[in-house]
């Protein structure tokens, strides 16, 4: 018996199906997790996750060579061993608690479909060229993707790859299978699999990407499809999100990322059309985007030395990334910096709020990986690379990694990636999502420090002696919260615990931003607790002396003989002024530890050049979400009464 071309094509389509593990998800797994497990009275521990991970469904990740799909990604995140695309066994030492697989919505699965298609059906000359390159070798495949990203940035993706009708059909099948797969891996109380996608708006190569994250199970997420980024604008995305919530009764939020590669476009003072920002735009942005990803493999976006010249820790994860936008189609200038980094955006938010009454940039902070290997690795000693082309191998640290052009980004500029910590009452979709929505989350550059922050007006040192967490929640607000100015300086309870399996802590700092009486945005960094602060490490002038450095460069090791296991502070803002608009966030700094390049040097016997050795030790860190201090609402006279805050 013999079957013809028709069947072959049918097989071709089938090959795009997700053949997951058998069985179907239970009702508890399929929903948002409400009433599936017993919840703690308060958020009692941080849950660790990655909200930004790509698999072979992403157009670029597949092209870069990854052959692991969403199911492998889920298995890996929850602690199982998988075989990485390049053949190595990979397993997380400590599993994650939650995962958002965020494959690009644009041309979702398209490179895989292109690769899988019979060559004779690939008629577009550009596509056929990419097709051949993808089949020729991994190196050529990466080159093809470089061209593809450049084409996307220039809006020159071949029509055949975007054919809406075909795309819609393929997307439907892919997404339906995907959300069903997520349900099967979602285990309330143990592991949370959240649906999501990456929305990759990139006008002129300026990165305006967002990860979109859903609260719900397949019954709701299955009613929509991921929303494409190219040729759309951010208000279109918010319309999509509004429509989702309205039609399904579900919830969804968006997480901007890599503002450091946006050339100032991520956090503008103006509206998207270049005119003044409207109140409506600001309100929607604040509501739709409660959290920003501040650190990941492609650099750290907290701040830049140009913006924060007095911040001695400002240079982390900046090198290489600050020379231009994502595909390096345009260089960055200092004038663009304020729109590209998180701290300056928080400041801009205060200024805009003073002008309009709405703060569009009142967001919390998380870290994630943005790994394109389907492996959510965040640690220095297990860095599996930004994409499959730089999974562990001798050459990866020194190779140019600059997406299509050749102007100075190298493998060693990559960070090992970050993680998101969410303070929640239990590990379910609803609890994790709600923690993001109320900004009770924080970012780390990989280590799992436990960082707690409460802000109020009457906390004292004595609170530590009792049930301080209960006091924190009942007499104050946690990270991400708002305080209304009551004429008194705010007091903060800050507790930072080292990663139980990681490095000691150097110090804990409060970063304060405010708008001064002249309307000028200001920032200041306060060292509030550090190791040996009562002993050998006294302040010299205003400065806390460096903690020291125990890193053995040749062996890629360090000793916890310096630093502290935990740091606590009860801190009152010494520069409080009544009526001031301000934000406060906590930055926890670890002692110096080896970066992944040193582990590579040790593993592969590399001889690193001096500039790389100079950048091979770093102080990893955590950033809390801010607490905002807002002026008490004034009573309005006239026909526009303002609603007083509810208590």
């Amino acid at each position: 018996m013999r079957k013809g071309l028709g069947l072959l094509l049918a097989c071709g389509m089938l090959s795009a199906c997700d053949m997951g593990i058998g069985g179907t998800a239970t009702a508890e797994q399929s929903g948002d997790g409400t009433q599936t497990i017993e919840l703690a009275e308060f958020p009692d521990r941080p849950y660790w996750g990655d909200t930004h991970l790509h698999t072979d469904v992403s157009i670029d990740a597949f092209g870069f060579g990854v052959r692991l799909g969403p199911e492998d990604a889920l298995k890996f995140a929850r602690g199982e061993q998988v075989i990485a695309t390049t053949g190595m066994e990979a397993q997380l030492d400590r599993p994650l608690d939650f995962l958002v697989i965020s494959d690009h919505s644009d041309a979702m699965g398209a490179t895989r479909r292109l690769y899988d298609a019979p060559r004779m059906l690939v008629r577009d000359p550009t596509l056929r060229r990419w097709y051949d390159m993808m089949h020729e070798s991994p190196r050529q495949s990466q080159r093809a993707v470089g061209e593809l990203i450049t084409a996307a940035a220039n809006n020159e993706i071949p029509e055949a790859l975007r054919d809406p009708e075909q795309q819609a059909k393929a997307n439907r099948e892919l997404w339906d299978n995907h959300v069903a797969l997520l349900d099967r891996y979602n285990q309330p109380g143990k592991f949370t699999a959240l649906a999501g996608f990456e929305w990759s708006l990139m006008p002129d190569g300026n990165n305006l990407h967002r990860v979109v994250m859903f609260r719900d199970g397949s019954a709701k997420t299955g009613q929509v499809l991921p929303y494409p980024g190219l040729e759309n604008d951010v208000e279109g995305l918010w319309d999509y999100m509004d429509a989702y919530e309205e039609s399904t009764g579900g919830n969804v939020l968006a997480i901007p990322h890599n503002s450091n590669l946006s050339n100032g476009a991520m956090f503008e003072m103006t509206g998207p059309d270049g005119g003044p920002m409207t109140q409506a735009y600001a309100s929607r942005r604040a509501a739709r985007e409660p959290v920003v990803e501040a650190t990941q493999i492609k650099g750290d976006s907290e701040t830049h030395p140009f913006l924060s010249p007095n911040d001695e820790f400002a240079g982390f994860g900046v090198q290489g990334w600050d020379i231009g936008n994502l595909p390096l189609t345009h260089k960055s200038t200092d004038a663009m910096r304020a729109g590209s980094y998180v701290r300056s955006a928080l400041l801009r938010g205060l200024t805009l709020e003073a002008q309009m009454g709405v703060n569009p940039y009142a967001f919390g902070l998380v870290g994630s990986t943005d790994s394109h290997t389907a492996l959510a690795t965040g640690d220095e000693n297990n860095f599996f690379g930004k994409h499959t082309g730089n999974e562990p191998r001798a050459g990866r640290a020194m190779e140019p990694q600059n997406l299509g052009t050749r102007v100075g980004r190298f493998g060693w500029h990559y960070l090992a990636g970050g993680y998101a910590a969410a303070w929640a009452r239990g590990n379910t979709r609803a609890e994790i999502f709600d923690a993001f929505n109320r900004r009770e989350v924080y970012a780390t550059t990989g280590p799992r420090m436990v960082l707690r922050l409460f802000a109020g007006f009457d906390f004292t040192e004595n609170d530590w002696g009792g049930d301080w967490v209960r006091s924190g929640y009942s007499r104050g607000v946690p990270m991400g919260g708002d305080l209304v100015d009551s004429g008194k300086a705010p007091v903060f309870l800050i507790s930072a615990l080292k990663d139980p399996d990681g490095a000691n802590l150097d110090r804990v700092q409060v970063v304060k931003g405010w708008v001064d009486a002249k309307g000028v945005a200001q920032e200041r960094i306060y060292d509030v607790a550090w190791s040996d602060m009562d002993g050998t490490r006294k302040r010299v002038g205003a400065k806390v002396p460096p903690v020291g450095d125990t890193v053995n460069r040749a062996e890629a090791t360090y000793e916890n003989t310096i630093g502290a296991a935990q740091l606590r502070a009860t801190w009152t803002d010494p520069d409080y002024r009544a009526g001031q608009r301000a934000f406060y966030y906590v930055r926890v700094i670890e002692i110096p530890t080896p970066r992944w390049v040193l582990f590579d040097a040790k593993r592969f016997g590399l001889d690193l050049p001096q500039e790389v050795i100079d950048a091979s030790v770093a102080q990893e860190r955590a950033y809390s979400s801010p607490v905002w201090l807002r002026p008490a609402a004034r009573k309005q006279v006239g026909d526009a009464p303002m609603i007083m805050e509810e208590t």
Binding site: M1, G6, L7, C11, D116, P500, A565, Q566
Partner: protein, 261 residues
């Protein structure tokens, strides 16, 4: 890995043709590229029509069927000529695809076989450690920065510890979670203690030293099959596929002698 094959491309219609032909065991012997007769059986035609129907949801019209047959014949002619010219032999893509397809053949049934509860129960029994949860512990702990401080406090009696943002006590907490919160070293050291009402230790952790009152510990247990069926089945399938692939390869490999110059 499995899914990788399932996704492996039908990269080239020639290759796909070969694979399908092999998969269906058509005629049971290889195409002779020199054979100039192309026979299209009734079954073959039915297959073409079925393929059309699966794609478009209806049977082909007579005219469409003629077109499909023409296309099939065209493909077959080019396919045989390609084989006759040896185009399949020095192309690394063809080589890789074909070898992958061969492996897939060896394991295809394992990917779809229905599996009985008895088989999975055996599998679960044979690989208990893969599915067992780690057990739980109930304990109180006091923290000290140094070992000496902890020992002194223990010797004096009624130790109180120093404040740290760790839970002072936990009840029936899974060991997995204890490891996450207190760290690996603590979890390892804890395993060496026996439950008793007195303070024990000190034991070291990533934070320093702890006196521990371990009040209860439940051993890890293997869950019932029905609660982990999906995991067991996936594990069984993965292992079975790998095993069959190796077996199939060995049978073929044994027939070859490799001489490496």
């Amino acid at each position: 890995m499995i899914r990788r094959w399932l996704h492996e491309p039908l990269v080239h219609f020639l290759i796909a043709g070969v694979a399908i032909y092999a998969a269906l065991g058509w005629l049971g012997n290889p195409v002779d590229p020199a054979d100039r007769t192309i026979a299209l059986t009734k079954e073959g035609q039915a297959g073409i029509a079925l393929g059309f129907e699966r794609t478009l949801g209806r049977a082909p019209t007579d005219a469409e069927m003629d077109g499909l047959v023409d296309r099939w014949v065209r493909e077959e002619v080019l396919y045989r000529e390609a084989l006759r010219l040896g185009l399949d032999s020095d192309d690394p893509v063809v080589r890789r695809r074909l070898s992958t397809k061969m492996e897939e053949l060896a394991t295809a049934s394992a990917e779809t076989d229905a599996v009985s509860d008895a088989t999975l129960q055996d599998w679960l029994d044979a690989h208990r450690d893969r599915f067992a949860d780690g057990g739980t512990a109930s304990l109180s702990q006091l923290w000290y920065a140094s070992e000496a401080a902890a020992r002194t406090a223990l010797a004096k009696g009624s130790p109180r510890g120093f404040p740290i943002s760790l839970p002072p006590s936990v009840s029936q907490m899974p060991l997995r979670e204890i490891r996450e919160i207190f760290g690996q070293q603590f979890a390892v050291e804890l395993a060496g203690l026996q439950p008793q009402p007195q303070w024990q230790g000190p034991i070291p952790s990533g934070f320093g030293w702890h006196l521990v009152r371990l009040t209860a510990r439940t051993p890890g247990s293997v869950p019932a099959l029905e609660s982990v069926r999906a995991e067991v089945e996936a594990d069984w399938r993965n292992a079975t596929i790998a095993e069959r692939r190796e077996q199939a390869y060995q049978v073929l490999r044994d027939a070859y002698t490799v001489k490496r110059e």
